[in-house]
């Protein structure tokens, strides 16, 4: 079953090459994403029952546990939402001749190549192959970032590919040090095997492991958008087509964060405490939140604002992982899920706004409630949700993280985080809320939603995040608790 999961996107890519008609391409995309969801549901059930899924084929590289299934489910669900949304989005772009049929095909091919690399990164046991897959996500999405071929898009794509490739190369150096620290402990067939490293963590060489962690944090942190390595992120997220921004913000950042969590687990298990890792992670996390708070106030472009908000939330997850108590890790993982859904909803809505108004500038958008009634409502609620207002899910997970911090008696970081979150909320309100009201709407556009499938997906996501804010299903809770067990060990 697990290999079928990896085969589906590959088959989809082949079909995109073969089928010329655009209706078929839309159909293949939706069908592939539905099949992926079904397989992921079956795998989730298996993980709930048996804790891990391993196959002996291909040297036993396939491996799923509770931690990876959580991230994997996010990938397939957001992949499904994006593929539904893309139909309406791409049809509209075709109508305005912003792209032709050939480029539509390239879009779908690269999108499914990207999903394939993401799934590969999440389903392997070998950290080296995970690295290869994470680097491949950069390569698959590079042309998607520069999809519109304008000056700005090319600049963003160039920055993205250079900064992320070099960053990820540094992570590879860290992985080499990790392997170096295990020489003499593991056999050569077990090199870079995550479970073997974790089980023998106490015997790994400590100083080399510290060096490895720093390099890996810088490398994967670049990809996860942690400050001060975040500089590619606002450019890439704002220039990419909106469905791709969604995938990058909701899926790609989590993939990199997943890599960091795996390494943190090994290192804390080896040292027996989280002092070394904790200090670095908390510093980087707080720095990310501060950076976001500063830049959100000065934004003139709504997609860039959402991108900075992603940096903020990655920072919160990094802080949660840094504290490394069961409660804080639970909060961090829950926050990862909630942030993905909320941010996806916002980026998809921003695509609707962009297609209606043809501008990314906040100051040029007026009277959204009149022109786009449903999108405006969802977008407004989404902004409240991402700022951390109850009853939405981001509030719930932020509350868990902050209470975990206070439980550790770290009033400085906890207080600072609350203050920064309040500042960010103010920043979002001040810069964004002027777009909803006003009567002087542009004359050339008429009221009404354009992208009907897109509207359905954003409403669906709104329902999900509202429900998750009020009630977490027991199965999900069990999965997250198992994942916490895996990270902490024992």
């Amino acid at each position: 079953m697990g290999f079928v999961l990896l085969a589906v996107p590959v088959i989809a890519v082949v079909l995109f090459f073969l089928l010329k008609k655009k209706q078929y391409q839309h159909a293949v995309s939706v069908a592939a994403s539905i099949i992926l969801m079904l397989i992921a549901a079956l795998l989730t059930r298996e993980v709930i029952l048996f804790k891990t899924i391993e196959y002996s084929a291909l040297g036993g590289i396939f491996y799923i546990d509770s931690l990876s299934i959580i991230v994997l489910d996010i990938v397939v669900i957001i992949g499904f939402m994006t593929s539904i949304y893309s139909i309406g989005y791409l049809e509209e772009e075709l109508k305005h001749e912003k792209l032709d049929k050939g480029r539509l095909r390239i879009y779908y091919i690269l999108m499914y190549a990207f999903i394939f690399t993401m799934l590969l990164a999440l389903t392997v046991k070998n950290i080296g192959i995970m690295w290869v897959a994470i680097e491949a996500t950069t390569l698959a999405s590079a042309f998607l970032v520069g999809f519109y071929n304008g000056k700005d898009a090319i600049e963003a794509a160039w920055k993205y590919v250079i900064i992320c490739s070099v960053g990820i190369a540094i992570a590879l150096l860290g992985i080499i040090f990790l392997q170096f620290s295990s020489i003499g402990v593991l056999e050569s067939s077990q090199f870079l095997d995550w479970t073997a490293l974790f089980n023998n963590a106490q015997e790994l060489k400590g100083p080399t492991l510290r060096l490895a962690f720093i390099f890996i944090l810088i490398g994967f942190g670049t990809k996860a958008g942690l400050a001060p390595m975040h500089t590619w992120l606002p450019d890439a997220h704002s220039q990419a087509p909106s469905p791709i921004s969604t995938l990058m913000s909701g899926v790609l950042l989590n993939g990199a964060m997943y890599g960091i969590i795996r390494i943190v687990a090994i290192i804390n298990h080896s040292f027996g405490n989280s002092i070394f890792v904790g200090r670095i992670m908390i510093t980087v996390g707080v720095l990310s939140v501060v950076t976001a708070a500063v830049f959100i106030f000065t934004q003139k472009d709504y997609k860039r604002l959402l991108a900075y908000s992603s940096i903020e939330h990655m920072g919160i997850i990094a802080i949660a992982i840094g504290f490394f108590t069961p409660l804080s890790i639970f909060g961090g993982l829950l926050h990862m899920i909630n942030h993905s859904f909320t941010k996806s909803m916002l980026f998809l809505s921003s695509g609707n706004i962009l297609q209606k108004y043809n501008t990314k500038e906040i100051s040029k958008i007026k009277g959204m409630f009149k022109l786009l009634p449903v999108t405006a409502t969802v977008f407004l609620l989404g902004l409240f949700a991402i700022g951390g207002t109850p009853p939405f899910s981001v509030f719930a997970s932020e509350l868990v993280v902050i209470s975990a911090i206070f439980q550790e008696n770290n009033f400085f970081v906890g207080g600072l985080l609350i203050l920064l979150l309040a500042i960010i909320f103010t920043g979002i309100v001040l810069t964004m809320f002027k777009i909803f009201y006003g009567n002087d709407t542009p004359t050339e556009t008429s009221p009404g939603e354009i992208n009907i499938p897109g509207v359905c997906t954003i409403v669906g996501l709104l329902v999900i995040i509202t429900t998750m804010g009020l009630y977490i299903p027991n199965e999900l809770k069990g999965l997250i608790e198992n994942a916490v067990q895996i990270i902490i060990g024992g």
Partner: protein, 218 residues
């Protein structure tokens, strides 16, 4: 065997210094090819050694792939890109070359001191091979920030990758086979993508000078 490896690691470091002293993009690509030949040689020696000792052909296969990708194809691709975009020759560096070379010397000294104080890497004596290869990575990074043209940055990225590859060979006798092959494939695709992007940058901006493309800020 360790004599050959020592000699090759020093030669690799020298090739990085040579690269830093190059003025023209054509000569970067030549030096990069020279460096890749040295790496192929190194992989070949290690491969033959492991074939004799363990009967293992993995490293020899990696050597063949290195020759195919790094010695033949990537320099060819870079040359082709260069011929299409660089119609006028411009100065490509901020600082003059003597200062850059002195900077490289500082990098080597810095690496020596930082690695010699890390216990666990050295068994008794300081592992000069690892010092040399990590200096190679840092010089690659320094090269990237010292050049303005897009192709210079691609070469810098490739030098970083070379350095990491060599570090993996010296420190750990190579990564697992499948990982090595995956890494080389990633590099190949990355260079192809970067090459296409250089074309597009040239098309849109009329130059491949990275300093001229900074519209996106804040």
């Amino acid at each position: 065997m360790s004599n050959y490896l020592d000699a090759l690691s020093v030669l690799l470091l020298t090739s990085a210094f040579m690269l830093m002293g190059n003025k023209r993009i054509k000569s970067y690509i030549k030096t990069f090819r020279l460096q890749s030949i040295l790496i192929a040689l190194l992989t070949g020696i290690m491969g033959i050694n492991s074939l004799y000792n363990d009967g293992n052909v993995d490293i020899l296969v990696v050597c063949m792939v290195v020759i195919g990708i790094k010695v033949v194809y990537i320099p060819f691709l870079l040359n082709k890109t260069y011929e299409n975009v660089e119609y006028k020759v411009e100065k490509d560096f901020f600082l003059n070359i003597p200062i850059l070379i002195i900077g490289c010397c500082f990098i080597v000294v810095f690496t020596y001191f930082s690695l010699s104080t890390t216990t666990g890497i050295n068994t008794g004596t300081i592992n000069m091979q690892v010092v040399n290869s990590i200096s190679l990575i840092l010089i690659g990074l320094f090269f990237m920030i010292s050049r303005k043209k897009a192709i210079g940055q691609i070469v810098g990225f490739l030098v970083i990758e070379n350095g990491i590859f060599v570090t993996a060979l010296f420190a750990t006798q190579g990564m697992p086979f499948i990982v090595d092959i995956g890494i080389l494939m990633d590099i190949l695709v990355a260079v192809i993508i970067m090459g296409i992007m250089v074309f597009r940058i040239d098309e849109k901006f009329g130059s491949t000078d990275i300093n001229k493309i900074k519209d996106l800020r804040g």
